[in-house]
Amino acid sequence: MSEDSIPLLKLLQRIPSFFHISEIHLKRLAEGAICRSFSAGQIIFLEGEGSAGLWGLEKGHVKLYKLSPEGQEYILRFVGPGEAFNELAALDNAPNAASAMAVTDVEAWVISGEVFNRALQEDHELSLAVIQGLVGRMRALTVQVEDLALRTVTARLARFLVEQIEDPALAHPAVTRALIANYLATTPESISRSLRALEIAGAISFNRHRIVITDLEVLRQQAQL
């Protein structure tokens, strides 16, 4: 293992589903990985292009998104430091399922699909860990689909705000109405209406550029959590 991949080993050890994987197997995974830097707004890889491999985020924030044929963006999730992404395309070597863009300046590690799959074949525990990670993503996606189908925009917005506060890894340094709208598959106008509804309900208030969560309990009620 090269000196350069020691930070990656530390990163892998921080990924929750890799917690119990022995260092020797993580080292194998870290071999041949490359660290890359992106500036805010730069595209990391595009949906539909050949598999870009498995990524681990060292610094910054990334958004994973899909574009409709009309160019409307739908954000699948935000990735924070210490998280992995693009597992699907790394596993089946098929085209990337979504696009990834750096939201802030980013440093990230990429592990080729080949190295990833070889490591999985050799290590039963690693395979289990990856399956567990994917099950977690599956569950989150199921909640997202349920949200889209069954919940009002206000409830979805409330849930988004709760997540931003409760999960520091996902916390976005700066959000705009358009960004939230793309994440919740709605329009900036309906985000404005829902922000007002949450303000009237006493869950949030505005302090210039700050959206202040004034009552987390009320916000959780609005989110139907």
């Binding site: 705000l161 506060i165 340094p173 700066a174 959000v175 358009a178 505005f206 550029h209 959206i211 969560i213």
Partner: protein
């Protein structure tokens, strides 16, 4: 991230058509139309974050960035 330049309206100059609607609508004269025909934030300190410019822009070239904080943190 507490830099004033971040917490002001962000104008995408590739999208802005220079129509001037935001400049006319801003109640505190924050915005100006530059000779290059794009709107720009000329007086960031005067911006009260009312959001009028964002909602009036016909091409969604303006966005206001927000920071989400817990009431007890400020």
């Amino acid at each position: 991230m507490n830099d004033m330049t971040i917490w002001t309206p962000q104008i995408d100059d590739e999208v802005c058509t220079g129509c001037g609607d935001c400049v006319d609508a801003c109640p505190t004269d924050v915005l100006e139309l530059f000779t290059t025909n794009v709107a720009a934030v000329a007086d960031p300190e005067a911006c009260n974050y009312c959001g009028i410019c964002e909602s009036i822009c016909p091409v969604e070239a303006i966005s206001l960035p927000y920071q989400i904080v817990l009431g007890s943190d400020i």
